[in-house]
Amino acid sequence: MSYLYYPGCCCSMKATGKAYEESLQAVFNELNVAREELKDWNCCGATMYMAIDEMQAFGMASRNLALAEKQATDGDPQIVAPCSACYLVMNKTKKYMDEYPDIGKPINAALKDAGLEFKGTTKVRHPLDIIVNDIGLDKVRALVKKPLDGLRVASYYGCLMVRPYSEFDDASHPTTMDNLVEALGGEPVNWPLKTRCCGGSMTGTVEGVGLRLSYLLLNEAQRRGADVMITACPFCQTNLECFQKRIDRSVGGITQMPILFFTQLMGSAFGISDRKLGFHRLFVPFNRDKIRHHAEAAK
């Protein structure tokens, strides 16, 4: 079994989600997860590509799946896709190629034309799934050097990680990330908007709509007393964090709340330096001691 790391480009690791990649690498190093980058990966054929041409979108994703089979040295290849959209699209492609011969046949033929082959052995995994189910929370607990000391954390799963093609958690009431927070010594906040849409690309196109969806999430998390929110998708993080000031200006009633990637919070509990976890890339600074001080003062 070999893990092949697929960074992903749209809304991504080399761009807005750079801190996600940095912190994920640091956490994987700490957990001793052997992995290599998928060579010459291409865009997954994300949701917007599908709106223009679905068959080509499946073609794009299938190239990655086929490349993974070619690169894997021992056992079935497992693609590690940190971006929720990439995770969903590659899973969907695999499923649809299986289910609909109208899609599977032409795509397999196209791959053969280009000198590739997809047998269907590649698995697409989310880093959260790997950390919780492959590595296990016991190992995570053992590595915690600076426990979160009851920091109230709202876990925001976003849409595409838990539905509809993923199998590692419930689609409506996911708990994986909350269990992880507990293992790190934090206090998971129970809130109902865990999987509600953050607005996605709407923030760029019809801004009023996108900002309102993000506002609802921020407002509800704060109403329930969350100190920080953690996400697992670079797009959600950008929407909720970078636009926080703009939301506050147009709606009001939002106090600044740090939005972290779950890997950043993990790294912080493992005692990894802030620089390595990309905390300097945040718009809303995250300072654990300061937040705790505030919480104690409020009590």
């Binding site: 480009c9 749209c10 991504s12 080399k14 761009a15 807005t16 750079k18 010459d40 291409n42 054929g45 994300a46 917007m48 599908m50 223009i52 041409d53 679905e54 068959m55 080509q56 499946f58 073609g59 794009m60 299938s62 190239r63 649809y96 609909y100 899609i103 032409p106 033929a109 196209a110 791959l111 034309d113 280009a114 590739l116 849409c159 595409l160 539905r163 509809p164 409506s172 509600r196 849409c197 996605g200 690309s201 709407m202 760029g204 196109t205 019809v206 801004e207 009023g208 709509v209 309102r212 506002y215 407002n219 704060q222 109403r223 147009s250 709606v251 009001g252 009633g253 890339r281 945040l282």
Partner: protein, 214 residues
Amino acid sequence: MVWKGWSNIKYSDKFDSVFTAKMWKGWKKAKFEEELDPNFAEKIAQMPGCDRIYNCIQCGTCSGTCPMSVYMEYAPRKIIGMIRAGFKGEVLSSYTTWLCASCYSCTARCPKGIKITDVMYALKRFAIKEKMAPSKLPIPVLANEFFETVQKYGRNNEGMVVMKMYFKTNPTLPIRNLIMGIKLFIRGRMDVIQDKIVNRAQLHKILKSVGSGH
């Protein structure tokens, strides 16, 4: 924290006016049997993932769970009803399909297992093919820019794509969003160089032999 309620939320005025005008037009139009397209539902049902639209029981779970339905002129339940009734023009020229953020809540919760998100994708593609997509909305423009960039280079550069979209739809917006871009750039979260894959020939070969199907 005080719950401020829905009415306190301010929307962009521009979006609101375009939107209401469109809604008004749609509602005031009476339809006669001969104006409907009886084969419309069949055409949609042929697309992969859309085969179950005939199973719809019009329960409204999709509209209820949709975070965007408050902005749509026809919510997802109504869209399926309209597809089956043959309202081709209204469905394809509506904002609804483009407002779908593809969060898959409807697909996950539909009691009849209808893949509503796939139906929305199918409608988007159909609207482009029939040249009926709403021209004033930036969403199709963004989708097209994204499509062209990824097809050419194999990877995407979100900053460039968004910039191109702004220049094509509302050139005053880049100035407003420039500050955000600069802030992202300072923090190393924006790349100005287009990322490319090495074996572009292979990718183009795959895309060419897949063709532009649905």
